[in-house]
């Protein structure tokens, strides 16, 4: 189990009203193999209208974090610590009734697999209308009109007719648009998108992401985009939080992360993006080794076993803090000095990446 870290207050830009403030969130599940911590002390803020991308591998805890904000991970064997403040309401310990008011109306979510996320035996019109009518006292006809408007907005042709169609009558991309329409139906302040494009074709991916961005521009909703694909993030994110093994290991603006990454894991992620403007490497670059299993994490920095730059201090958990004076909002969890980071991350001139750690097989 990880050692408890010193609670560090991430510095807030002065005078900003944050829509959502998550502080030291921990989520654990009781399993047959013992207590497993999926989210190990995550803190971040979300301002109105901004797009925050949460990036990480499977098992990094990014999805659990997103679902916990909506209270979807509550069960007899889950435990929570920490807080998530949304417009004056505390989400983590809230009772079901309060949470239900928030869900769908204030914070909405779209999920990864649109085929299984829609009820196969109900018409999609009905599924949109039921959400509208749950939160607003709108008569049937008006709710129907709103649903048609929404389908139109997300780009579904012949919306009026398609209202009576079933999910299986749509293609994958269309279904995901329906999910987006559902999510936006009550004008939420935050849209959480959990790997919205992973189950879709690459060509559709771009369309969906663009649609999300346009809708953000139109409605002013903030977006939390959970994904494992850094490439997806580049066009749309304002800020990025990189998660590894239950913790945020680096957090900053889009430019900061892409051009001045501070954490070796981020270097690895960037290095593994195949570039069309560079000569083809002999092998696809990948980070050696595997992420630690949830019940069996290394002491101190979780990335230690795979990090070629590991040194003695890494046994202590590095706190998430700003280590560069000029950038108070760019946080990371790496004990290396700024100078070391600048040098070590260039595996080849002008190329950011991560060397393979010798013997890094898990």
């Amino acid at each position: 189990m990880s050692t408890p870290e010193a609670a560090t207050e991430p510095p807030r830009p002065a005078g900003d009203e944050h829509l959502l403030s998550v502080h030291d969130l921990r989520v654990s599940f009781a399993t047959e193999d013992g207590l497993v911590t999926a989210v190990d002390g995550v803190s971040f803020d979300l301002a109105a209208g901004e797009v925050l991308a949460v990036v990480g591998e499977s098992g990094s805890g990014k999805s659990v974090t997103a679902m916990t904000l909506m209270g979807l991970t509550r069960s007899p064997n889950s435990e929570f610590e920490g807080t998530a403040h949304y417009k004056g309401t505390e989400l983590i310990g809230a009772n079901e009734d309060d949470l239900r008011r928030v869900r769908g109306a204030e914070i909405a979510m779209i999920f990864q697999d649109p085929m299984t996320s829609l009820n196969p035996v109900l018409k999609i019109g009905g599924q949109i209308i039921e959400q509208i009518q749950e939160h607003e006292a709108l008569p049937d006809q008006q709710a129907r009109e709103r649903a048609i408007e929404l389908l139109d907005k997300v780009g579904i042709p012949r919306a009026r007719d398609r209202l009576d169609s079933y999910p299986h009558e749509f293609s994958g991309g269309m279904r995901q648009r329906v999910m987006i329409a559902l999510a936006l139906s009550c004008d939420p302040s935050i849209l959480i998108a959990d790997e919205p494009t992973t189950a879709l074709d690459v060509t559709i991916q771009a369309q969906i992401l663009q649609r999300i961005r346009e809708l953000r521009d139109e409605t002013g909703a903030a977006v939390i985009l959970v994904t494992h694909d850094l490439g997806v993030v580049a066009d749309i994110a304002d800020r990025i939080a990189v998660m590894y093994s239950g913790r945020i290991v680096e957090q900053g603006t889009l430019d900061e992360i892409f051009y001045d990454p501070q954490h070796p894991y981020t270097w690895g992620l960037l290095g593994s993006i195949t570039r069309v403007d560079r000569p083809r490497p002999e092998r696809l670059p990948a980070i050696a080794g595997l992420p630690p299993s949830l019940g069996n994490r290394p002491e101190g920095c979780h990335f230690r076993p795979r990090c070629p730059h590991e040194f003695a201090k890494c046994i202590e958990v590095p706190p998430l803090e700003a280590r560069q004076d000029k950038r108070p909002a760019h946080l990371d969890r790496c004990w290396l000095s700024a100078q070391q980071k600048r040098e070590l991350r260039e595996v080849r001139p002008g190329e950011i990446g991560l060397e393979k750690k010798a013997g890094a097989i898990q």
Binding site: E32, A38, S58, G61, S63, M67, T73
Partner: protein
């Protein structure tokens, strides 16, 4: 931890229900068919008639002889219970066995080879499936009563215990063969079957060594539940007169006899029924427990 104790308790209960009848002849003081019409027995110093002058047999004495009372013919109920249980259990278990074997054969062939054999087998199963279980049992029971049946060189007389075994065994085949076929359909697409095929193994070999072993957990659960249902069906058929024939005892025939005299001697009906329920219940609970234990979905779902 708690589970283990539960299972032990159930297994014990089951063992008692099954073992006692099978050892009937060691335990009993008399045979199931012997009449003790004019006998008297001693209870607490009093002498009582086994069968009263008005024809009403004695109720449970909770003593060594006639522990659970007697029937109108003076036969010891406890003894008949044990012997009848032997018949009921034997029929149930052997029938379940028969069903299992047939289901494996048909289910695996249909699921593995598909095509023609699948269509034919499935059609056959559908046809049997179209009959209510008891009605089909009655139909076969009546049809086979007089002359029995001839399967090639084997002749089975109409009065033999093999007739109900055969009937029950065949009637339940669709209920087991279908799920097996379904599982085989998905198993045959798995990699280890592909690998075996690539190594040049013939279809029958693959079926034996790869497919069937993967069916064991399903088979185990089904088999247990089958025995339970077979025992109930045997009781039903014997009750109606289309199963076990007198004077062979079975819990079903005992209940049938008992119902006629239910007002004067209710123990004749209650006793065999309770025994039946206990046995079938322990089988069902056991089968349920096994199914739960083997269910992979029992693990907690962790997020990606």
């Amino acid at each position: 931890m708690i589970r283990a104790i539960d299972y032990a308790r159930e297994a014990l209960c089951l063992a008692v229900c099954v073992a006692a009848p099978l050892w009937a002849n060691k335990v009993a003081h008399t045979t199931p068919t012997e009449n003790h019409l004019s006998d008297t027995i001693q209870i607490n110093g009093e002498t009582k008639n086994v069968v009263g002058l008005d024809g009403v047999p004695i109720g449970p004495t909770w003593h060594g002889e006639f522990f659970l009372g007697a029937d109108p013919n003076g036969r010891d109920i406890m003894v008949r219970l044990l012997y009848g249980g032997r018949n009921s259990l034997m029929i149930g278990i052997v029938a379940a066995f028969l069903t299992t074997i047939l289901s494996i054969v048909f289910g695996v062939i249909a699921g593995y080879f598909r095509g023609w054999s699948d269509s034919i087998i499935r059609a056959g199963l559908d046809v049997i499936w179209s009959f209510p279980v008891v009605i089909l049992g009655v139909a076969l029971g009546v049809a086979l009563a007089l002359g029995g049946i001839k399967l090639g060189p084997i002749e089975i007389s109409g009065d033999s215990l093999w007739v109900p075994i055969l009937i029950i065994g065949v009637v339940y085949v669709p209920y087991m063969a279908r799920p097996i076929r379904g599982q085989v359909l998905s198993l045959r697409e798995k990699e280890f079957v592909e690998a075996s095929r690539a190594q040049g193994a013939g279809p029958f070999r693959i079926m034996f060594t790869e497919v069937v072993p993967n069916l064991t957990s399903t088979l185990l659960v089904f088999f247990t539940l089958l025995i339970a249902n077979a025992i109930l069906l045997e009781a039903a058929l014997s009750f109606l007169g289309a199963g076990v024939r007198p004077p062979n005892p079975s819990w079903g025939t005992m209940i049938d006899d008992g119902i006629d005299r239910i007002s004067t001697a209710p123990h004749l009906t209650i006793v065999p029924g309770v025994m039946l329920v206990l046995t079938v219940l322990s089988l069902n609970v056991f089968g349920d427990g096994v199914r739960d234990a083997l269910d992979p979905r029992a693990k907690v779902r962790l997020e990606r």
